[in-house]
Amino acid sequence: MDLHTVREWTDVRDAGAWRPGDAWVAGGTSLFSAPAPHLRRLVDLGRTGWEPLVEHGDGRLEIAATCTVARIAAYPVALFGQCCRAFLASFKIWNMATVGGNLCAALPAGPMIALTAALDGECLLLGTDGTTRTLPVTAFVVGAGRTALREGELLRSVTLAAVPSRTAFRQASLSTLGRSAALLVGTRDDTGATALTVTAATPRPLHVRFSAPPTAADVREALGDAVWFDDLHGDPAGGGISPSGSPRRSDRSSRRERLRRRGPVHELLRADQRRGPGRRAAPGAVPADLPARARLLRGQEGLRRR
């Protein structure tokens, strides 16, 4: 859509000092999907030439903020493609939308947040005064539509730890191929150390670690009084997430970040419990005794060696 209040479009290399009313443009798929009357100038990151993916020798992967979702989808690690398919968006959006844009939009269902949080992503931030700092993804996204970015600060890249030997992916959605209501990513290394990342059902990513694969009760205890996000499709009265997927500007955190013990995550946990310890669903199979919502799970292939 047209943003009628924008008067200027400039390349980041010519932009000079940050001004009030500026916004960075990476892919633009979020920016151009909702009115933004506070904006006056768009600062384009599209021609920075940042290398989308840099593989470091120690197994770490540095993803430029401008790396497209399409590049992530094509990356030869199963979890990357699984997270891309968790987008509500079509593959045409993947061709433009960026990892940095998804992190900065900070929507609970942002699957690039899930991916990078699960792989211990560290965000590199460039300040307006030329200084840099790093923040874990779990501290970068601080709420529904809220990040730790300071005025004029730029997300340059996110660096992931080496991908553990096993990863698992579960998504619950209220509709087929719909937006995530709960998105869980599990990782496990060769020592058995396991981490679980919860997004979509929470206003910010939760990352819990276990020395060994946990039971559902362990996970429930570790998540404790987690704050659940129960505003999947938006509150028409003005809070939460608009139908276009953009955060509303009014912050009704008390309404949308209500304590909810019976969120979609607990459906997933109950489902795993019914399956029982030691039993694992066959690849592709959805046990018939699961509650209807849990049967909407995708990615039933279980813990899969990559």
Binding site: G28, T29, F32, S33, G46, A89, S90, K92, I93
Partner: protein, 202 residues
Amino acid sequence: MHVDGVPVHRCLYPAVRADGRAVTTVEGLAGDGGLHPVQQRFLDAQGFQCGFCTAGFVMTTAALDAEQHADLPQALKGNLCRCTGYRAVEDAVRGMTTVEPSVPGRAVGASLPAPAGPRIVTGTERYTFDIDVPGVLHLKLVRSPHAHARIVAIDPSDALAVPGVQAVFTHHDAPERRYSSGRHENPDDDPADTRLLDDVVR
């Protein structure tokens, strides 16, 4: 549209980024003024009703690889048909032919294609926003912030102060008389329950 061969959403693509790139829209998909095979398929299966979504379906379908063809719900999610559904669209994507030739004297009962079809699949059919009406004004309907309420007072001065605003109409400007927006053979089928501009919002 395709930018350097990559399908993207034109409503989200800033025009400035098209500079120096090859842009293909449904009007130029066939290249030589004929029909692209996908356009022909949408004609053969009449994969449209009003045709508003057809440009998007044609351009997306033309960009699909074999793997995407095998999973159409995933490949075409985001392409929305508001008229009728996806049966005819899927027929078109899969290359089925459902139209029958128009034979003089035997056209009744035959599955004839929509006359507008060739214009629809090539993006040349005119829709409302394609028509240039000099001096046309746009109307913005202000919706009620309340589920159900009666307007006791309304002050249009702020709206009238917005540059370009020509007029503000409220229930004071429309007759109080109720009417029906639907008419059938029996006028009692459609109760007169509508006011053009009401003092009750709901």
